[in-house]
Amino acid sequence: TRTPPEEAPEQIENPSFILATTTSTQDSGLLDDLLPVFTEDTGIEAKVVAVGTGKALQMGVDGEADVLLVHAKAAEEAFVANGDGLKRFDVMYNDFVVIGPKSDPAGVSEKAPNNVIDAFTAIRETQTAFVSRGDDSGTHKKELSIWDSIGTIPSGDWYVSAGKGMGDVIQMANEMLGYTLTDRATYLSMAQGIEIIPLVEGDERLFNQYGVIAVNPEKNEMINAEGAQAFIDWILSEKAQELIGEYGISEYGEPLFVPNAK
């Protein structure tokens, strides 16, 4: 089927595309900061749908989104390898931190302030509450890979598999006085109302890379490939990278993301 001709002018008049992303980029406020500038620069409107990583990728597979901004590198590469996406670009990174109660019952800040493997081992040994995303998200995948590297499939009452978004999980850990693994951006944006604090950080295994991928335009004729490409070009541009690097400094005293487009 052909696109009906009368829709074509409308398309140009108000061009927009769907950006599927994870809740961390939306909830941290980064996209609210960036997108108005993007629209101003290009005249294109980005419609952000913030969902779980799994769903974001699924939306790409289905051709329901035009471009993805997610953080699950292995899954992203598989996505491109399957022909669902065109090409993956690094955009920015931040890092994961292990947060937990000030009292630190597992003693991780003593034993392993910058070694996540030792920290997880201590948590497992002491059977202190650990709240997991449990939702197959990028963060969850990262967490599982750490458990895997210490040869554990975590289970038991202390291991709380929540199946919820990052914000909710941080609140649950706060309420249960437990530990969790979170991306720094989400933690910082919520740090005000909670009592749990970063205990483990700076381990290179906690690196959290975000990537951008245009969905394969051959999926269906409704995909706005031009919009997607314009967004990718823009977010990898120097200007956007600079904005990313500055975002959060005024509010949190440090940037939430570190731009690293090549």
Partner: protein
Amino acid sequence: MGEIILGIEEAFLLLISFNKEIYGIILLSLYVSLASTFFSTIIAVPIGTALGMRNFKGKGILIRLIYTFMSLPPVIAGLFVFLVIMRKGPLGHLRLSFTPTAMILAQICIVVPIIVGLTYNGVKEKGNTIRDLGKTLGANNRQTLFLLIYEMRIIILAAVIAGFGRAVSEVGAVMIVGGNIKGHTRVMTTYIAMLQNMGDYSKAIAVGIVLLALSFLINGILFNLQQR
């Protein structure tokens, strides 16, 4: 608990801020839930009325099914509508995904069974009496239907109020088909869910209070109609 007090304060601040974004969200919420309630009413009241008065084979099962669909989880309704209107879905060419229209469609799926079920239940008791009266006084079919709706207004409006309550408060369906896109498909409930997820409890409660206040207004209007 401090968040609740703060929330009440913030609700006032939100309203008097005349912030364009927040008013946009409120208006879209109203538009979506009123539209879905309106269309659901138009669809459901005649069906519920007819069910209340006609007898046919399999009616018992049908009623039970309708009652069952009162339990339709909004997420499932949303997912269903999403699969139908998605780009590669059967109605993909209409380009409805992530639009207010899609949100209205999904809510209609949720609200119709509620209004049908409650209308049916009210009508079955005295619907036949009223229909017979209408006939004997010379009303044609259309006039009899209006007479029925007029006489059953207390029950029908309660059904509509219950349906509106469901529409305006649900988040699962509109989140999926609307996507909570800022400035485009963000409504009060999706905003609340997002704020809640961000840990901004007091603002979430503030928006919740605004939602309840609006609902109070709308229900006041419906209630006045009912008491006539």
